[in-house]
């Protein structure tokens, strides 16, 4: 702020006091540092904000605080060893990243998984998507000082994580998907528990909706803030709920259906304006659609009955544990699988899935060996965060909080 020296004796009172006051008040732009650790942002990111009063003139977003060399680590281990790293990309929906990476490897290997495995992958992936959207909407409320809906959201998220724990033994970093299959089939009591929990999650979503969706303060903070147009979304390659809230019904599950999404009945919600409120509504509706998908998966898994969840391909098959301990051939195969893993044919491939934040793509290059040459993750939160400065140009500083939240930048995925 400029130092404004008060005049020693007051001049003649001007005809238009207001206008003169504006002219005399020499304001200067102010630089404000926000982050890297700030209570109103869930994620480690630093904003360098140039402010004119309370309005944002320029925004420099500095990311990378959670960079831990994901790609370098993947390029120095076997194809299998990269799977646990993908858990730690978006830790709200680890299974979706598992699926993205593993299906890219399967594309290079040219293998297709069993029917039961595909339905299990869809089901676990959609449960993760619900958990991710619950975090986004719940934490969004929390950062706008609404504690109650956050607790409803986290309670529902606990239920999805309990289901994932039944499925694979871990709540957050699940490491469930394998090249050519999944770790194991669901436990026998899973369908009944899942049906029970889905009903509970639906009820919590109703409570969540009742308490916040038409809350005056919440609506005022979200409506008309962080707007991005359809054209700008395409220019900045923004995908996921942000693009859909701007009115483009683009969803990889529909445009290029992978797994069994072409056999599943679900809708893609879109918004009109492309502001934070539309993003919130799109996410809430997507949770309902994901629960619908999970129910269809449960019904279908029940219909097709038990079957193999791993492909019987010698390149990626893991021998049965009982045989490993008693037979020579299986022991050798186990040893080779652990130390070397599959040899992936030379070539390059890009595979994209619809993650909770948008298009999550993996571009893999193999030279025919057991170690990848290149593992590139196309992170949706990194790409979606880039136009945030455009979204907020001229907006109030307080609008940064909900906008950043509904972009849902996940440090693990953005910074890799």
């Amino acid at each position: 702020m400029a130092q404004h020296q008060p005049p020693l004796h007051f001049p003649e009172r001007p005809a238009d006091l207001e206008e003169d006051f504006e002219r005399d008040l020499h304001t200067e732009h102010q630089i404000l540092n926000m982050g890297p650790s700030h209570p109103a942002t869930h994620g480690t990111v630093k904003f360098l904000i140039e402010l004119d009063g309370e309005n944002i003139v320029n925004l420099d977003i500095q990311v990378g605080y959670l960079h831990r060399g994901f790609e370098k680590e993947c390029e120095s281990g076997t194809w299998y060893q990269a799977i646990p790293y993908t858990d730690r990309l978006n830790y709200n929906s680890a299974i979706l990243a598992n699926i993205g990476y593993v299906m890219a490897v399967e594309k290079l290997l040219g293998i297709e998984t069993t029917e039961r495995c595909q339905w299990l992958r869809v089901m676990s992936g959609e449960l993760s998507r619900v958990a991710d959207h619950l975090t986004r909407c719940g934490a969004g409320c929390l950062e706008l000082a609404a504690m109650t809906p956050f607790l409803y959201g986290i309670e529902a998220r606990e239920l999805t994580w309990d289901l994932l724990e039944m499925l694979c033994g871990a709540r957050v970093t699940s490491n469930y998907v394998r090249i050519g299959g999944v770790k194991h089939d669901m436990p026998r009591d899973f369908p009944a528990t899942a049906k029970d929990f889905i009903a509970k999650i639906r009820q919590l979503l109703v409570d969540f909706d009742d308490v916040i969706t038409s809350n005056r303060i919440f609506v005022d903070r979200l409506k008309g803030t962080g707007i991005i147009s359809k054209e700008d979304c395409l220019k900045y390659a923004v995908t996921g709920p942000i693009l859909r809230s701007a009115g483009v019904p683009l969803d990889v599950r529909k445009t290029d259906p992978y797994l069994v999404y072409d056999q599943i009945d679900f809708d893609v919600p879109i918004g009109e304006v492309g502001d934070n409120y539309d993003r919130y509504l799109v996410c809430v509706e997507e949770m309902q659609q994901s629960l619908r998908i999970v129910e269809q998966c449960l019904a279908h898994l029940d219909k097709i009955g038990p079957g193999p969840v791993n492909i019987d391909d010698p390149r990626v098959r893991w021998p049965a544990k009982g045989k490993v301990f008693n037979r020579m051939e299986e022991l050798i195969q186990q040893f080779k699988s652990v130390t070397e893993g599959p040899q992936v044919p030379a070539g390059e491939g890009y595979f994209a899935i619809e993650s909770a934040n948008g298009e999550l793509g993996f571009y893999l290059v193999s030279d025919g060996g057991a170690v990848p040459v290149k593992v590139r993750c196309r992170p949706p939160s990194f790409v979606n965060l880039a136009p945030m400065g455009e979204m907020l140009k001229g907006a109030m500083l307080a609008d940064l909080i909900p906008t950043f939240d509904f972009i849902n930048m996940i440090g693990g995925e953005c910074d890799r």
Binding site: K235, A237, Y350, R376, R378
Partner: protein
């Protein structure tokens, strides 16, 4: 055209029609092409990359530049490859553009024109490639490191950067 490893007809794959038009419309720009595993891929010269991107955006409806990355093929010529993935919403097609870049030695950085003016999404992604591979994008408005810090020495995704290498400790900047 033949069939790929999955047994699919290459011309029926998404992207291949766009690839064919690109080759026909800009003679000489595409030096090599393939559609292995269903991914339509064109290799273009560094000098033509902005032309090709403009043509893809304005004539062939590729509205989105989804991804920019690079690969270091140490010991091969050209050593680096910058890889662009594009997507057309209107036609639901994908195409991959690759540009080979020779290694100018340890004192200089390989250079390629920036496509930031054609696709603004390239801004951060090109910064990341600069950060990780030390490839300079000419005409980029703000070519700074993005994931690493200013004082970081070297470019970690290059194959000759050892994973165990330690970095000097730096103090606060201001």
């Amino acid at each position: 055209m033949g069939r790929d490893l999955m047994g699919r007809d290459l011309m029926e794959d998404f992207g291949s029609a766009a690839l064919k038009r690109l080759i026909d419309d800009l003679p000489g720009a595409v030096t090599e092409s393939h559609a292995n595993l269903g991914d339509a891929t064109a290799v273009v010269a560094a000098a033509r990359v902005v032309d090709v991107m403009l043509h893809l955006r304005d004539e062939l409806d590729f509205e989105m530049l989804m991804d920019v990355t690079a690969v270091d093929y140490l010991g091969r010529d050209p050593r680096f490859e910058v890889v662009y993935h594009l997507y057309s919403v209107a036609q639901n097609q994908r195409v991959r553009i690759k540009v080979g870049l020779a290694d100018p030695g340890s004192q200089a950085m390989p250079e390629i024109p920036s496509v930031n003016d054609v696709y603004p999404s390239a801004n951060w992604m090109e910064r990341e490639v600069f950060d990780m591979y030390g490839i300079r994008f000419e005409g980029h408005p703000d070519l700074r490191r993005i994931l690493l810090y200013e004082e970081f020495e070297g470019h970690p995704l290059r194959k000759d950067y050892p994973k165990e290498r330690r970095q000097p400790l730096v103090g606060p900047r201001n």
